[in-house]
Amino acid sequence: MNINTTKVISLLFFIFSAFYLHTAYQIQVFSFDENAPFNARTFPIYLGYAGLFFSGLKLILPDPNTIKVQHKTLEYKKTAILIVIAIIYGATILKVGYFLTTSIFLFSSFYFLGERRWVLMFLLSFPFVAAFMYLLHGVLDIYLRDPFLQSIGVMG
């Protein structure tokens, strides 16, 4: 059976809108605001109904411009690896610090995308991040916390 993915996305959006609408009705407002013409839940409620309306229309109306994506040609593996590297980057940046995590993030991204010119990979990661960090920290005065550089005495 051929499933129209746009319709599936519309169905997911319909369910999401229903959940949003349900949550909107649960927003706690002050008792004196309960019957006011407008309170904190009014706008979200309208949005919930708008979401149901548009996704519902998309679901029931015929879709002449069906988008067919050739999944076999898509590069899922490399995309997933990049996303995982980014998540690991997010998980370690506060504990390890900006310099080391960012440099490793760049170096590993180059590697997993197929790059093997080691010197260029190194230059575009560690020294590049150091220069960028100097620009942010030293020139633009944007404070960057870095436990690693602090531990080796490079940063105060």
Binding site: T5, P44, L47, I67, E75, K78, E115, L136
Partner: protein
């Protein structure tokens, strides 16, 4: 006005600001030349850097990036037949055939001069139109603003959806939903935070822009195995030919530029329309106006056919600043990003901007002239070399885009929750892009969400909960009627297409 121009010139002509325009134009040209990476991505990547400057300088930098990106898009259209941005597709119709005939240098020069003239003329229109429109818009009330925002969102959905109006409207609603996360502006009641303290202040605008544009574009390039830099490797430094334009060609351009700049500017002012529609309309109009002999040359390297869309797309860029500067309502995705950045600076654009922050208002207008001059004298001779810079392999380009996106978010909040949220939104946006769900309506809706709720709140409270405010004033009713006509037109078009299918 003279005083304003002098204020603008004083601000824009400082060494720092001239340097920013130059940097912006250069950086924008590089990003704009890469197919798929348009002005919105370029500006999004710049936002975190601009927060280190004062608002006028930050805005000047972003305006430079905007013009540079449009100019860069034209270059890749002419040299590679690979338009960097949709607004320069029409440029490739005659620019690329001209380049194939060995006249790439001439085509680039025609495009550069047309862009310069279009941008300069439209900046003059803006100079006169913006203050007058600001005065008129002072009489606007909350219902009018609410109706205008509905019109802006409907229009951008209609124009950016490529016939998929409902998809675009779903993106509008999603943008508004994302904007509703966090504390309610009046009562401070938290909404949709699910007891997560990180969401109490809402989702950062920069995060959403970075995720839906910079990061998701980088992921899309990998996912689709595109290589935006591959085409640049084909550019030969020796095959560009002369950049001189002869008298006959100049005469043709003198006629084309004024009319194309007017149409470009007017289309740019309309909410949601922008450079793409302006350039196609100008191309079509020019083709109908010229004589039969010239008409034959269209599509084969016509000077008029190249000059018209180039003039119009630059004029539309300036035009799109009009609703943002005068009403505080952006007319395009790109100006929505700039509006978000302005709000981040604590500056509220709108009819009072040119009174409360004249240096910002006028320096943006003045920096447009300066940007145009810099694009002309700096970029034209450097284009072949810039094109070579683009031959940086994708394996380096993509991680660097991701790096700038993540760093941009990290230096703003120093919170890894924002990084996770950005990755999550980017993954969803990448998936939605695969199925042609447009992102500009989402960004515009996200930026306007808070303002829209505020104006609806005031309107409903003043009318005691009645929706009559929508037709009480003639102006509100007219704006809403226009919105309804746009919706009916699109529903009709969809139904008609379905019937034919």
């Amino acid at each position: 006005m003279i005083e304003g121009i002098l204020i603008g010139l004083t601000t824009a002509l400082t060494l720092q600001n001239i340097l920013m325009v130059m940097l912006g134009c250069f950086f924008g040209t590089i990003i704009g030349m890469l197919p798929g990476l348009g002005p919105m991505t370029a500006i999004a990547l710049m936002i975190p850097i601009t927060y280190g400057f004062d608002p006028a300088t930050g805005l000047i930098l972003m305006a430079g990036v905007y013009y540079g990106a449009v100019f860069g898009g034209s270059t890749s259209s002419i040299l590679l037949n690979a338009p960097g941005v949709p607004g320069t597709v029409a440029t490739s119709f005659d620019g690329y055939p001209m380049a194939q005939q060995g006249k790439a240098g001439k085509a680039l020069a025609i495009a550069a001069w047309s862009s310069f003239a279009g941008g300069t003329l439209s900046a003059i229109y803006l100079l006169f139109m913006a203050p007058s429109l600001s005065k008129v818009s002072l009489s606007f009330r909350s219902p009018d603003y609410f109706a205008l925002m509905i019109l802006g969102l409907t229009a951008i959905a209609a124009f950016s959806s490529k016939g998929q109006f409902l998809k675009a409207m779903m993106m509008v609603v999603l943008g508004l939903m994302l904007a509703s996360v966090g504390q309610d502006s009046l009562s401070d009641i938290t909404r949709f935070t699910f007891n997560n303290m990180n969401l109490t202040d809402g989702i950062s605008f920069v995060l959403v822009v970075m995720a839906t544009f910079a990061m998701s574009e980088a992921l899309t390039i990998i996912l689709k195995r595109n290589d935006p830099t591959s085409a640049a490797k084909q550019v030969s430094l020796t095959e560009l030919g002369s950049i001189k334009i002869n008298k006959e060609e100049r005469t043709k351009m003198y006629k084309t530029i004024p009319r194309s700049s007017v149409i470009g500017f007017l289309i740019g002012v309309l909410p949601g329309a922008g450079a793409t529609i302006a350039s196609f309309l100008a191309y079509g109009m020019e083709r109908n106006i010229v004589n039969d002999e010239e008409k034959e040359k269209f599509g084969k390297g016509s000077v008029n056919g190249l000059s018209a869309p180039e003039t119009a797309n630059n004029a539309a860029c300036s035009g799109s600043f009009v609703p943002m500067l005068t009403l505080g309502i952006p007319g395009s995705g790109t100006t929505a990003v700039m509006l978000g950045a302005l709000l981040g600076f604590g500056v509220q654009p709108g009819p009072r901007l040119y009174m409360t922050n004249p240096e910002i208002f006028w320096s943006i207008i003045m920096s447009m002239y300066i940007g145009m001059v810099i694009l002309l004298i700096l970029n034209l001779p450097l284009i072949p070399y810039i094109a070579r810079i683009l031959a940086v392999p994708k394996n380096y380009l993509i991680p660097l885009i991701l790096f700038f996106s993540i760093t941009g978010i990290y230096v703003m909040s120093f919170n890894n929750f924002d990084i996770y949220l950005m990755i999550g939104i980017a993954v969803v946006a990448t998936f939605l892009r695969l199925y042609d769900f447009p992102m500009p309506p989402l960004i515009l809706a996200f930026v306007l969400g808070g303002l829209m709720e505020e104006n609806l709140r005031r309107s409903l409270l003043l009318s005691n909960g009645s929706w009559e405010f929508l037709w009480d004033r003639a102006l509100t009713a007219c704006i809403l009627l226009t919105t309804i006509l746009i919706v009916i037109w699109h529903v009709y078009k969809t139904m008609f297409k379905n019937t034919k299918t």
